[in-house]
Amino acid sequence: MNRRVTKISWIVLAALLCLSLVLVPGCTEEPVVPACSTYIGSGQLDGEGIPPDFFSDLDVRKGFCYAFDYETYINDGLQGQGVQRGSPVVEGLPFFNLDASMYEYDLTKAEQHLKKAWDGELWEKGCKFTLLYNSGNIPRKVACEILAESLLGINPLFQINIQPISWPTFLGKIWGTRDMPMFQIGWLPDYPHPDNFIVPFMDSTIGAFSAFQGYGSAALDAKIKAAFEETDPVKQQAKYYELQQIYYDDPGGIVLAQPIARRYFTGHISGFYYNPVEPAYTGRVYDLTKANTGGAIPFKNPGTFVFQTIGPIKTLDPAWIYDTGSAMQVGLIYETLLYFDGEKTDEFVPLLASEWEFNPADLTLRFKIREGVKFHSGNDLTPEDVEYSMERWMVMDRTGGPTWMIYGPLLGVSGSGDVTFADIDGAVEVDGDSVVFTLAGDYWELAFLQILCGGWASIVDKDFCIAEGGWDGTEATWMDYNIPDDVGDTALYNKSSGTGPWKLNLWEPGIQVKVERNDDYWGGLAPFDYVITQVVEEWTSRKLALLAGDADLVYVPATYFDEMDDIESETNLNVYKDLPSLSIDAFFFNEIVCGPSSEE
């Protein structure tokens, strides 16, 4: 028996090996298909497909924009929690135009445009293609269905299939293979400036979406740049209004809705105010209070704030973070030079900087650093720490990270590949009790102040960081710390010494993050001894925890607002509704399916 078993297992293993050898050559070659993408059918305008440049025709795009039922999308897809917008500039951003032109659901106009498209050939022959959405995303599924149904109703020759695919595959198709004729994706702000929204939607070379859609032109790029660099507020408003109108006249996508958010706290928590650019779902925890107000939900864990959400934390290193989960924790442990004033996105209050001043003559932005502030390690906060934090941020420049946001304003470039150490050193300098930044242009003032509010601009403890193996601040070693391979390679990945109201207590990856109160905090003791963020993927578990008082706030996706409405009256929740979230989803047109050279 023993020998036979061994023989059989060898045969099975040999078979597996042969199988993989056969499979593998097959998967490293591109499969041969008639059209460059499986989603455009025949690849010709013959009724069995669409050509790769189908959406380059303006009438096609306008026709589709009129054929979309916005109201049903908001009601069915977003449970009514959304407001239609006409352009990427949404409410809450400076220069938002409430009266901007918007498409409305008009089948007659849709028909008119579609009849004109491609010199009437589209109407005559019809079309066939596939719409994809990332599986599990209900609003995007609803949008695909609405569009397909509408177009079929206008002309039965318009045949559209709908297909779900997984999120990683979906992203790979948008920016890699580019083989989807249309795709839906949303934009969240890096900083609340209209430029941060317009560029990805409209810039033909650096736009995160438009550059991959084949949208835009050099002339439009120049307009975008001019609007950003305009210093006269009246003229700037006119320019941004014009850009918003351009997106209506020449749509790069069907602009969907700005989602309306809600927050569900237990009745014992008060003090929440909504700032749309605040990355933490909780708002500023420092401004919350917890007191027993009675009611159905039990009052548990006094002195502790418990937040349950989805999505694990990636890192605690400020120079690496680019996701809201990590940003929230960094915001509890570290502080920035200044922060947004309450609910405003273009006015600021001093934090680690006691005052600042911009000198348009030499483009310097001078921050006076607050005295008497200590890091968690006991070291004092000095201007050298600020200089080090900024330079370290520039030096690290991790792939796909937030560093472009300091390179742009200070040096006018996008990454560390275009600069020398002397440039980095010279961009930020210590001058007595202040730190001086030299901006690349005076139009950067507002945007740079906004960028400095982000967690990536947190001030780190220079001596602590060096002691933990971080960069020593000199030219000699900077290349060793440039573009780290793995998120775990940085000194501040899971160790920290910040100035914030809390310090790190425990981080169990994928499970929870616990911070404990910093008793030496310069701004006055924090309202909570502990802030615990737990990762709970299952919605029902979160909901039950909220109602049991085990969590003070949980993440509630819009799909479940109705469910919460039903129970709201029976229990003491503190609910904040109608919060305009600073994001926008759009149904983008890919004008060059498969990329610029689709004859392969």
Partner: protein
């Protein structure tokens, strides 16, 4: 044959198994283009423009055998790779998340086995009578219940309706602080065992309170597995000649069933129990997610969904080792329980 050479021979077989499995999985993951695999490392549209740089940095467009060779080389030097989904090395991730799953397996397996044996024996002893039909229906009903449905219902009743009586997660916030404090030594990171070793009754009670619901969920859905095997094994055993002799001798029915029939019927059940334990220790994703009892199943699911291939391969390695070892233990146990069976030989 001798025990020691047998064990060594079986353990050596582990190597080709590991090789074959990882090669196979690696080959399948090559169906994803380098771009799709690169999306693991980015999380926002802004970062997407850097995809080509990411691909180059992680060598995602190298030929298949180069990537596999690199990975094998790393494994031999002790580096299983970095698990991006939980931000630690794959090796650390396995050791970090295994205790939770083991805790569930340690509590659920005996419960399932004893319940299965009891129900199977009862059903067989009262064959074709209402008790038999009743237990079989109950067991199959439990087997057919979707785990997520049962888990959520239990949560809604015992955590929701009964206002926090049996909460999800492994420990309450207070006990979690105790466990992480300097006074408490985490020997195994299995909370119940550590509580006993630290002589801390409060933590033990809290851990038990949190484990009740997930263990019930696992038991109800898995008991049919053992119960049906036990029943058919018992029926076979009850039909043997020596049972007739025992009854003829005038022994009480209870003694006939429990002492004579059941012991022989237990043999296949014991070996299958090994697989049950392995299947549970493998990770029970749904139970772990619903009850926030994050173990190795949850980790493997996150890795799979995010195309974290290093983690998937690490998990495959862990699984292979687990099953080969369980197979080995079960085979040895089989020879101990059934004297007719010889290691590497045939049944006489």
């Amino acid at each position: 044959m001798e025990l020691r050479p047998y064990i060594i021979r079986r353990l050596l077989l582990l190597i080709p198994v590991l090789f074959g499995i990882t090669l196979f999985i690696f080959a399948i993951t090559m169906f994803f283009s380098p771009i799709e695999r690169a999306t693991l490392y980015v999380s926002s549209p802004r970062q997407m423009a850097d995809l080509p740089a990411v691909i180059e940095q992680y060598g995602l467009d190298e030929p298949f055998f180069v990537q596999y060779g690199t990975w094998i080389g790393q494994v031999f030097s002790g580096n299983l790779g970095w698990s991006v989904v939980v931000g630690m090395s794959v090796w650390d991730a396995i050791w970090n998340f295994l205790p939770a799953t083991l805790e569930l397996a340690i509590f659920a397996t005996p419960l399932i086995i004893f319940m299965g044996i009891f129900l199977g024996t009862t059903a067989a002893a009262h064959k074709d009578r209402p008790v038999d039909h009743g237990t079989r229906v109950m067991a199959i009903f439990g087997w057919s219940l979707p785990t997520f449905w049962l888990g959520l219902i239990l949560l809604m009743v015992f955590y929701g309706y009964f206002r926090g009586l049996l909460p999800p997660s492994r420990l309450s916030i207070q006990m979690d602080m105790v466990v992480h404090s300097a006074d408490f030594i985490r020997y195994t990171r299995i909370n119940t065992i550590d509580a006993i070793l630290n002589l801390n009754g409060a933590v033990l009670l809290d851990a038990l309170r949190h484990i009740i619901l997930p263990v019930i969920t696992l038991s109800v859905t898995n008991v049919a597995f053992i119960m049906r095997l036990m029943r058919s094994s018992m029926l076979e055993s009850l039909g043997k000649g020596y049972i007739l002799t025992a009854r003829a001798k005038g022994l009480a029915e209870r003694v006939v069933v429990n002492k004579h029939a059941r012991r022989n019927a237990l043999i296949p059940v014991i070996t299958v129990s090994g697989y049950l334990f392995a299947a549970l220790a493998n990770g029970v994703v749904i139970t772990e997610t619903i009850f926030t009892y994050k173990g190795i199943g949850w980790w493997a699911w996150q890795a799979a969904v995010n195309l974290d291939i290093a983690s998937v391969l690490g998990f495959a390695l862990f699984n292979s080792v687990l099953f080969v070892l369980v197979n080995l233990v079960v085979d040895i146990l089989y020879t101990r329980v059934d004297p007719r069976v010889r290691l590497g030989g045939t049944v006489q």
